[in-house]
């Protein structure tokens, strides 16, 4: 299951009818926590192809306590779908009971590290498995944020056993937005912790004072992100890779074509590795 695609509602019927060959499908957990035809269709998809559950609503890095009811519903879905991977984000979305439907930024300090670790442990204990935590796309940073993001993720892994879902597009977007070096970022990620890679397109927003990249999942993967992906494959080995697309969703074939591009880079990386081993 090298490369998979994000499965969105408009493509489900076509996927069930045509059964395209893909490594796995990934869905947003929060879209499948009800009953009815939506989750029944996901069960049918799951019969032929592994499914990964990608959560966006647990608010693991926030100030509010963990939403136990939400976690129990996720547990029920995990039991029903038996996902190949379960992931969430290094972000928050809930405060004072208001759910803001976004992956919001936090200062990377010891307090957040302690609180986030504790919540990841709670989640892993309830689900009876480890999860992956994704680096978010970031558009701002806080003054008091002493821990670099890759070190923060690495420390979460060391404390809780969770893995890292490395979103290479987010690495590119975030580092470019703060004039940092994406290669330095990749070099600072503990290689053994990476359990999945995400790829997606981004938009370029020309604000008055400076250009901001926006992780909108609305286009093909950009060339510099493919370049970073090559580096990531060589550094982290072949881990499951996902093509994500959410805004201006194209035909399913376009996503499969992006997945085929990623698969070619996986093959190239593997042959480079064989070459190194045999040399």
């Amino acid at each position: 299951m090298h490369v998979g695609i994000g499965l969105r509602a408009p493509h489900v019927a076509e996927v069930l009818a045509t059964r395209p060959a893909t490594g796995f499908f990934e869905v947003h957990t929060e879209n499948y926590l009800g009953g009815g035809p939506r989750v029944a269709a996901l069960e049918r998809v799951r019969r032929d192809t592994p499914v990964a559950l990608h959560g966006v609503g647990l608010s693991l890095a926030g100030g509010d306590p963990l939403d136990r009811r939400h976690l129990v519903r996720i547990k029920d879905l995990v039991d029903r779908i038996q996902p190949v991977l379960v992931s969430e984000h290094l972000a928050w979305s809930v405060v004072g009971g208001a759910y803001l439907n976004h992956l919001l930024p936090l200062p990377y300090d010891d307090t957040r590290l302690d609180e986030t670790s504790r919540r990841i442990e709670q989640v892993q204990e309830t689900l009876g498995r480890t999860i992956l935590i994704e680096n978010p796309a970031r558009y701002l940073r806080f003054h008091r944020s002493p821990i670099p993001e890759p070190a923060f993720l690495g420390e979460l892994g060391r404390r809780t056993g969770c893995g890292i879902l490395l979103d290479v597009n987010n690495v590119y977007v975030s580092t470019r937005n703060f004039d940092e070096d994406p290669h330095e970022y990749l070099a600072a990620v503990p290689a053994a912790a990476v359990g999945e890679i995400h790829l997606a397109g981004h938009a370029t927003n020309h604000a008055e004072e400076r250009t901001i990249l926006i992780d909108d999942h609305g286009s093909r993967v950009a060339e510099p992100v493919w370049d970073l992906y090559r580096v990531a494959l060589d550094r982290f080995g072949v881990v499951p890779t996902l093509i994500e697309w959410d805004t201006n969703l194209p035909e399913l074939a376009v996503l499969l074509d992006e997945a085929a591009s990623a698969e070619r880079l996986v093959q190239a990386s593997q042959s480079r590795e064989r070459h190194v081993v045999s040399a």
């Binding site: 879209n31 976004h102 701002l140």
Partner: protein, 259 residues
């Protein structure tokens, strides 16, 4: 700002359009006004939640015009942000909100149209449940049948409106006759909304059938439910109504309380 909770609270307040100077002091500019950086997050929150509301309320969007809906959604999101993480569960109170919005005051039917659309959305995502085997009811001794309480399928909603919201809804579907008009004088509607297979459906009920189903939903026993229905219409047909409910697979449980 001392705690994570306070910082998040300040950030959320800035997102929802309140005072942002405290949180702005915590944010690095990096060549851009910190408020402009917060606005990037705000844009996403409002765009995605507005999109979710538009998907749940397509007829309301048509009735008030998409631009006005955007304005109403913006205010609604600020005043009543989601109380849970699933966007398909967001927006139940939009009907009440629209009822309180002065520009909508003349659209007297609008809140009930919104309630119908919410019931359709709710039915689509309601938990699954297995219909009760019809033999279960047949096996209840005749002298205990009045004590039976029946459980309706989780997707069922019952609605009564003084306005012809069923006809308003149908005349605003893509396949409707564009020349058709609905008069508010046509009278109201009693509706049942539920999931049938992969589809969500609604249909009109007689006032007595509505009253009977309402009584079941309120956990009254059959004797009291029949009394309520017969007070509306003395010729209420119990056997026929139960058969309808069983045929539609809408009874998913039952209990008998032996006297």
């Amino acid at each position: 700002m001392s705690s994570a909770h306070e910082l998040d609270r300040g950030f959320a307040a800035a997102l929802l359009g309140e005072e942002d100077h405290e949180i702005v002091a915590e944010i690095q500019g990096d060549g851009l006004d910190p408020s402009a950086r917060i606005a990037i997050y705000r844009n996403h929150v409002f765009a995605t939640l507005t999109e979710a509301l538009e998907a749940t309320y397509p007829v309301v969007v048509r009735l008030v015009d998409r631009r006005f809906f955007g304005y109403a959604a913006d205010r609604f999101i600020r005043e009543r942000p989601p109380a849970g993480p699933c966007v398909f569960e967001y927006g139940e109170s939009l009907a009440d909100f629209l009822a309180s919005l002065p520009p909508c005051r003349d659209l007297v039917y609008l809140p009930d149209v919104a309630r119908l659309e919410w019931a359709l959305n709710r039915a689509l995502h309601a938990e699954d449940a297995v219909p009760l085997d019809r033999r279960w009811l047949a096996d209840v001794p005749a002298d205990e049948i009045g004590t039976v309480r029946l459980v309706l399928h989780p997707s069922v909603s019952l609605m009564r409106s003084p306005w012809p919201i069923d006809r308003i809804w149908r005349s605003n579907q893509a396949d409707a006759d564009p020349g058709a008009t609905v008069s508010l004088d046509e009278g109201g509607a009693c509706l049942t909304i539920h999931r049938a297979g992969d589809d969500v459906v609604f249909r009109t009920l007689t006032p007595s059938s509505y009253t009977f189903r309402r009584a079941l939903a309120d956990d009254l026993d059959l004797e009291r439910a029949v009394d309520a229905a017969r007070s509306v219409d003395p010729s209420f047909d119990l056997a026929g109504t139960l058969r309808e409910l069983l045929d539609e697979g809408l009874i998913v449980g039952g209990t008998v309380s032996p006297r």
